[in-house]
């Protein structure tokens, strides 16, 4: 008979949780942050207010209003002609100067736009839609910057970031989950605000629009602008996150942001105008504005005729995207590396 020896039982140890669990927890953490809820609530209120203000300030171009505007336009043309005739009969006119130069050319109805005589004016989706999307993208960038900053700032101020390392010791994973959640959340906010703008513009157009058919290619340009606006929201959110993760304090990150935008960029524009194409705000605008941002840069150089040399520079959508992407990646990346290497106190 042989004895069977069983080794002493060693309790099996449990590894860290899965990445999915970390992602879910981070998502819940972000959604439960009160300040983020307040920011999103304020954004919704602002959207309602803007939509309501638009409805109060725009009015549809009804046939009656168009007829009245047409009559005003015609009256303007006639009054202009009366004034011109009086000018032409003035005996004091110098004979050697062309009369059109003294009394102006004859005015026709085509020289004026009917909308000038409509008050309130109707909303024009074709003319104002893309510009509105750009404005919304700028406002959303501020919102997502704050969301990214306060999300990670709260972790540092409560030192929950350190407590989390008792549960997941792989720091790049911890940071990766947070970055992924901020990226998705800010992108969703960007998409939501662009959709909200589309809804607002649609409501204005339907209720108080000019009724003008949209030009060919309008929707493709509009959708592209929406997409780039959402991308800017993502970059801004990650920048807020990355900057706050570097300085480990929301207030300090906002201070750094303010100093950069209010002081550094102004100083660069004043003292080194040729650097303007590489500023963050320039590239953020260049990313979203349809066709890119045209810059007119007045340099310190003087040409042969004694005039200041002016440079025209187009910050393309692509340049804006690359510059914003690289800056965001560097700021976030440095924060991740430092978090992974530094002692967690």
């Amino acid at each position: 008979m042989s004895a069977v020896l069983t080794p002493p039982s060693v309790p099996t140890t449990a590894p860290a949780g899965r990445f999915g669990g970390l992602l879910r927890a981070e998502t819940h953490r972000l959604r439960a942050r009160r300040f983020i809820q307040v920011l999103l609530g304020l954004a919704v209120l602002a959207w309602i207010a803007v939509t309501a203000l638009g409805l109060l300030n725009y009015e549809k171009a009804t046939p009656e209003r168009l007829a009245a505007a047409q009559a005003q336009l015609q009256e303007q043309v006639e009054q202009n002609e009366i004034g011109r005739q009086q000018c032409l009969t003035d005996p004091s006119l110098p004979p050697d100067v062309p009369v059109d130069q003294l009394c102006g050319p004859p005015m026709t109805a085509e020289d004026m736009e009917l909308s000038w005589f409509l008050d309130p004016t109707p909303y024009s989706l074709s003319e104002e839609g893309p510009g509105g999307a750009v404005s919304i993208a700028a406002a959303t960038a501020v919102l997502t910057f704050l969301i990214g900053a306060t999300f990670v700032g709260a972790e540092w101020s409560s030192r929950s970031m350190v407590a989390l390392l008792f549960w997941e010791t792989r720091r790049p994973r911890v940071m990766g989950a947070k970055i992924a959640v901020v990226a998705v959340a800010t992108l969703l906010v960007g998409v939501a605000t662009q959709l909200a703008w589309l809804a607002t513009a649609g409501i204005w157009q339907a209720v108080a629009g000019d009724g003008v058919p949209l030009p060919d290619g309008f929707w493709s340009e509009m959708l592209a602008t929406h997409g780039r606006g959402a991308l800017l929201a993502l970059f801004a959110g990650l920048l807020g996150f990355g900057l706050t993760n570097l300085v480990r304090n929301t207030g300090a990150a906002l201070g750094v942001g303010f100093v950069y935008f209010a002081v550094v960029e102004s100083a660069i524009s004043g003292f080194r105008p040729t650097w303007q194409p590489w500023l963050l705000t320039t590239n953020a605008a260049g990313l979203v504005v349809p066709g890119g941002l045209e810059l007119t840069i007045y340099t310190d150089e003087i040409d042969t005729q004694g005039n200041s040399v002016v440079i025209e520079h187009l910050v393309t959508n692509l340049q804006g995207g690359i510059v914003m992407g690289v800056v965001t990646a560097v700021v976030v990346g440095v924060g991740v590396v430092l978090f992974s290497r530094r002692d967690a106190q």
Binding site: P11, T13, A16, G21, W167, E168, T169
Partner: protein, 304 residues
């Protein structure tokens, strides 16, 4: 397999404008599995730094660290699910309720929500679990920290000053809980505390830290035995006469409030005999037991 192993671990903190500070100096520490292991030391002796090194929060400059048999930090992810820790003050989101804070941690580790309710029950915080963390008293915060440490049903529970801020009843409950966990056979508790009585009451083993080194380690009774005083406290009807007899017999005697203290007595029975020979009969003879405090103070005293 030891739950904790630290061999030749050194950690020096660089300090701006000051000379570097050696927090751990060739530290050797082994905590065997099972039971409660007390971790004693004065402030700045390196206890918290040791715990932070164990949990991978800070990197040592040199040395080997193993937790539940795995090297730290590379093997930590394999075992961290079996390690619960409360280090210094509990770290939670102040705006979230106690329950939500625990639920988020449970979610991170893939634990069921029922486990949250269990640990809330264990630390008797269920009634206040929906209150915001920032509204908790210090004791309640500490209880929540212990609840978080217990959430993973850990094989190794590291508690750094768990009685901080607790009222007497809370302290008693926590000690009872630690004692219970230490006796369940599957949990090792590493209890860092400056309360010597706490260690004395609940720990089976103790390691004493001073100046970044472990200067004594072993079962509590052995550490105490190594520091035995050999003093004897006696009570007799005529203190003055008895003192004279003992002094004449070569003993060092000093008066106490209600008797005499005889120092460095190799055999207490001799005292009984000497006094009886002179017609003095003892009412009481008590060897003065070495307590952990005396041992601790003797061990951690700064070298001259």
């Amino acid at each position: 397999m030891p739950a904790v192993e630290m061999h030749a671990v050194t950690k020096t903190y660089a300090r701006r404008g000051k000379s570097p500070q050696k927090a751990l100096d060739d530290l050797e520490l082994v905590v065997e599995s099972g039971g409660v292991h007390g971790f004693l030391g004065p402030n700045g002796s390196g206890k918290t730094t040791s715990i932070r090194v164990l949990l991978g929060l800070i990197r040592p400059d040199a040395g080997e660290v193993r937790l539940l048999g795995r090297p730290v930090p590379s093997g930590l992810p394999d075992v961290i699910g079996s390690v619960g820790a409360l280090v210094e003050t509990p770290l939670f989101f102040p705006g979230f309720s106690g329950r939500r804070n625990l639920q988020l941690l449970a979610e991170t580790a893939g634990l069921p929500r029922t486990r949250v309710e269990e640990v809330l029950e264990t630390v008797e915080l269920r009634d206040r679990a929906d209150d915001r963390f920032k509204g908790y008293s210090l004791g309640m915060k500490q209880r929540l920290g212990i609840a978080a440490a217990l959430l993973k049903s850990p094989q190794l529970l590291i508690l750094d000053e768990p009685s901080n801020g607790l009222d007497p009843a809370g302290i008693r409950d926590v000690r009872e809980l630690i004692r219970r966990l230490g006796q369940d056979g599957s949990t090792t508790v590493l209890l860092s505390s400056h309360l010597l009585t706490e260690i004395e009451q609940v720990a089976d083993h103790v390691s004493i830290m001073a100046r970044g080194r472990c200067i004594a380690t072993g079962p509590v009774h052995k550490v105490l035995a190594g520091r035995s005083t050999g003093d004897v406290r006696i009570r007799v009807p005529d203190r003055a006469a008895a003192a004279a007899v003992l002094t004449a017999a070569g003993y060092a005697v000093s008066p106490t409030a209600d008797g005499l203290l005889v120092s460095a007595v190799p055999a207490p029975g001799e005292i009984t005999r000497v006094l009886a020979e002179h017609g003095h009969y003892l009412e009481e003879l008590t060897p003065v037991a070495a307590d952990l405090e005396s041992a601790f103070l003797a061990l951690t005293a700064e070298p001259a």
